[in-house]
């Protein structure tokens, strides 16, 4: 598989995202799979930011550390990212009079880099265009370098500026200028793409946050409450921006406790409601999580991870909150923790999460991270026939409601621990959703017998849930393509992971360097309660097991050992806020594989 990559760098707020988005959409429409990766500081303006596009005619779902072309919008980017250009790559900058240091010159020469200077300011001045239009001009330059059709770009920019007709003409002029610009010294440059594949044309370009928002709306979420916190904020914004089309109730709450309580109240009433936050906000929600445990109230919380502790690295990524999601909040109660890995999961798992919450009358915590939340995926249009609404033991039939007794609500004798549930406003016997230990109808009852019965009732749900959840998925890579298999093959290496690192692992394993090796990737989507049977079976037939996670402790490894005693000694762990890059991960796995195996 041939993949090429472009990286636009500059200051936050300079417009690197719009260049990235225009080029990404254009490439996708031209028949390429695109993966967009953003890095930015926790600042509105300034600092160093980048937007990287990795693309191919085959599936791409990760970024590389080195790119075919860097476009630097400021001096800092030029100096900082100069070394990111691959051999025979292109470095584009906007300062024709720039003097490279001797070291930089040496590096550029040794890498055979082509350096292009675009006198952007001068061109814009000549056109009478504001600096913001420079983004379109630069996108057009990249477009030409990629050997793409000018009219396609014009159509795309036309759509983007459909509401700003007065700017359209100037935008078109900028496209012409950008498209035809030739550096007097370097001449025309080209970044050669592999041949296109029309299969990608009808795909969507979505961020994980957009996919998750669509998934939530698809699941029937009608109320969203949230407090802004990166990287959960893009979900809040996406749902908010669509509210006039969806008719949803939206509340930007005064804090995360409020958001969690609003959602708890709305779900108790019988709606489907959602909140999302990041680690610190989730800490604040934890008492409410505990409340939902005893009320047996279905709820769904999205926890978008970033590196902590405390404010940590607000705009970077991590998988460091797995154990927190499983253990946070006081008391013992049943909950479900699952993790999305990309835009597909982000959409598909939202209806699943709501169904699990309602069927088991528990809280479901959906883990995502900054990488999924903000990366741009080339996504097959979502299949909306996969999941139906499942509301478990919810009673709505008027005749059945009449038969209910208040003591049905928390009946401790139900075998699976899941008792009947009915909604306020139903013409039926009433009950109390009681935060104190209570007996069957929610009356406070502190007797030892009752406390034991109710605890056992609630915890039985964890067993029922564990039985209902799927085992982890095994991906096998054959001829550079990954597929899910139900087999239990002999493996040279079994890689175990969860969350967004899946996509980089799969891209890495597709590399020809692993040709001939029997390597499997076992992906845990459902992390609590943890099912380990399949893992144990595969582990027995694998020469080596490697844990891949983006946290310091190897948290899934800790959990696996806790649940089944299996110790995974080989670990590839990353905790610097950056996601795994595909070339980096290839080398890390290769290094592990060259170790002698212990039979």
């Amino acid at each position: 598989m041939t993949r090429i990559s472009l990286k636009i760098v500059g200051a936050s707020g300079q417009g690197i995202n719009s260049i990235g988005e225009i080029v990404a959409k254009g490439l996708k429409r031209a028949g390429y799979c695109v993966f967009g990766y953003r890095e930015y500081p926790s600042l509105i303006k300034g600092g160093h930011a980048s937007y990287q596009l990795d693309c191919s005619n085959d599936r791409v779902r990760s970024a590389e550390t080195k790119v075919n072309a860097v476009m630097a919008l400021n001096h800092h980017g030029l100096e900082h990212n100069l070394a990111d250009v691959k051999e025979s790559g292109v470095l584009i900058h906007l300062t024709p009079e720039w003097k490279f240091s001797p070291e930089d010159q040496k590096l550029l020469r040794s890498r055979k880099s082509t350096v292009i200077a675009i006198p952007l300011e001068e061109i814009l001045k000549r056109l009478g265009a504001k600096p913001i239009l420079g983004n379109v001009l630069l996108a057009a330059f990249l477009w030409a370098a990629l050997g793409q059709d000018k009219d396609e770009l014009k159509a795309l920019v036309g759509e983007r500026f459909a509401k700003k007709k007065n700017l359209l003409e100037l935008n078109m002029k900028c496209i012409e200028e950008g498209f035809s610009y030739t550096d007097p010294a370097a001449g025309r440059v080209s970044v050669t793409l592999p041949s296109s594949d029309p299969v990608w044309k009808d795909h969507l370009l979505v961020t994980g946050s957009q996919a998750m928002g669509l998934g939530a709306m698809h699941a029937g979420v009608r109320l969203y409450a949230g407090y802004p916190m990166t990287p959960s904020s893009p979900l809040l914004s996406f749902i908010a921006d669509l509210q006039n089309q969806t008719g949803m109730v939206l509340k930007q709450a005064e804090d995360e406790i409020t958001a969690a309580q609003i959602v708890t109240g709305a779900m108790f009433m019988g709606a489907r409601a959602l909140t999302a936050t990041s680690g610190g906000g989730f800490d604040l929600m934890s008492e409410t999580l505990s409340l939902n445990g005893i009320l047996e109230n279905p709820t769904v919380f999205v926890l978008a991870q970033r590196p902590g502790p405390a404010t940590g690295l607000p705009t970077w990524t991590a998988q460091g909150d797995l154990l927190m999601a499983i253990h946070t909040a006081h008391g013992e109660f049943a909950r479900c923790v699952l993790a999305v890995s990309d835009s597909q999961d982000a959409f598909d798992l939202m209806p699943v999460a709501f169904n699990l919450a309602e069927e088991f009358q528990i809280s479901v915590i959906v883990l995502t991270d900054k990488q999924v939340a903000e990366a741009l995926y080339t996504q097959t249009p979502f299949d909306q026939t996969k999941v139906k609404v499942e509301r478990g033991k919810l009673v709505t039939d008027p005749a059945a409601l009449k038969e209910l007794k208040g003591t049905d609500r928390y009946d401790p004798n139900v075998k699976d621990g899941i008792s009947l549930r009915w909604l306020p406003g139903s013409n039926a016997a009433t009950y109390c959703a009681q935060g104190d230990e209570h007996n069957a109808d929610g009356t406070v009852d502190e007797t030892a017998k009752n406390a034991k019965e109710q605890m056992e009732k609630r915890m039985r749900k964890l067993e029922s849930l564990k039985q209902a959840l799927p085992e982890p998925e095994l991906w096998k890579i054959e001829n550079g393509k990954g597929r899910i298999t139900n087999e239990s093959p002999l493996l040279d290496c079994l890689i175990v992971g969860w969350g967004s690192s899946k996509d980089t692992v799969l891209d890495a394993l597709a590399d020809e360097k692993f040709g001939g090796k029997r390597i499997g990737y076992l992906h845990f989507t459902y992390l609590w309660p943890l099912k380990t049977e399949r893992l144990q079976a595969l582990a027995k037939k694998a020469k080596k097991i490697i844990l891949v996670e983006q946290n310091y402790q190897g948290q899934l490894g800790v959990l696996i050992r806790q649940e089944c005693g299996l110790e995974i000694n080989e670990k590839i762990l990353k905790y610097d806020g950056r996601p795994f890059f595909v070339d980096e991960l290839i080398e890390l796995i290769r290094a592990k594989l060259s170790f002698p195996t212990i039979d």
Binding site: M217, A253, T258, T264, G442, V444
Partner: protein
């Protein structure tokens, strides 16, 4: 969206709200008065237990949650308002009444009170105000008199007492009432008006009540001697200036009744542009939705 009130039928009786669990409050606790008046108000509004949601905070008052029928929720300390607001926004047809004490409402949950009033959520909030933390054995709340020795503050509290009505009026409320648990008929009328105000927005009801065990200052007798019915004396609830004046000045006499009310400010829900002209509730709208029209721009 209006609350569905079946005013034509014969309606429920007090017995319908009766529950087997016996009351556990101290003898002469003001909670008995709120307990009696709320049932009376619901019955007089012809609301059956299954038609209402009663949400309780944590404190002595929260022990009411299993001393009457109705759909009830007994949640976390300080958090009753956002819970109740979420429930109401999900189903605008159900009257939602939140109960909380002065301890939680003016300390741990004070942020929620601020935003509930400014949001004008269409719910009723009944403040059990006995000016201390009763259930945790008599610590000072933000509304306890500063010089009053309490559990954990034998010298009185260093902080000054929070002027609750000044605070509430600063948040531009749409309904403010004050009642006294010694006057159950008046309290019933206040509760009824406060429940009906859910059609317009947030109703704040300050209920002065004795804590016979821990509040040795504002005793039942103290309140009995000072409370007067402002409406009976001709107070016009639409007069903001006067309402504010009689609400904050409790130095000689304590005004009770409906102190302030306006119905021309839309509630939080009525301000939601996406819900304009929507006749269903979020609860009724649960179901898988086709969202393909929403991803058109992403192709």
């Amino acid at each position: 969206m209006p609350i569905s009130l079946d005013t034509a039928g014969s309606g429920p009786s007090m017995k319908d709200y009766h529950c087997q669990t016996q009351c556990t409050w101290c003898d002469a606790c003001g909670d008995y008065g709120v307990w009696t008046a709320i049932k009376r108000a619901l019955v007089e509004l012809k609301l059956a237990p299954w038609q209402v949601l009663l949400c309780y905070d944590v404190g002595c008052h929260g022990n009411m949650s299993d001393k009457l029928l109705g759909y009830r929720a007994h949640g976390l300390h300080g958090r009753v308002l956002p819970f109740a607001a979420g429930a109401k926004l999900a189903n605008m047809q159900v009257p939602v009444i939140a109960f909380g004490g002065d301890g939680a409402s003016f300390s741990e949950g004070v942020g929620h009170l601020v935003h509930a009033i400014r949001s004008n959520y269409p719910i009723t909030f009944i403040l059990h105000n006995n000016a201390n933390y009763g259930l945790t054995l008599g610590q000072a709340s933000a509304l306890t008199r500063q010089e009053q020795p309490m559990n954990a503050s034998p010298n009185g509290i260093p902080e000054h007492t929070l002027r609750s009505m000044e605070f509430v009026f600063a948040l531009e409320p749409t309904f403010v009432a004050r009642g006294f648990t010694g006057n159950i008929p008046q309290l019933t009328e206040i509760f009824k008006a406060a429940i009906l105000h859910q059609r317009c927005g947030f109703a704040f009801v300050d209920v002065l009540q004795a804590c016979p065990t821990y509040n040795h200052f504002a005793t039942h007798e103290y309140l009995l001697a000072r409370c007067f019915d402002a409406n009976a004396e001709g107070h016009d609830p639409s007069d903001l200036h006067r309402a504010h004046a009689i609400a904050v000045d409790t130095s000689r006499r304590i005004s009770t009744g409906i102190l302030y009310k306006r119905e021309d400010v839309p509630s939080f829900y009525d301000r939601l542009v996406p819900r304009k002209d929507v006749t269903t509730t979020c609860v009724e709208e649960v179901g898988m939705k086709d969202v393909s029209a929403l991803w058109g721009d992403l192709v």
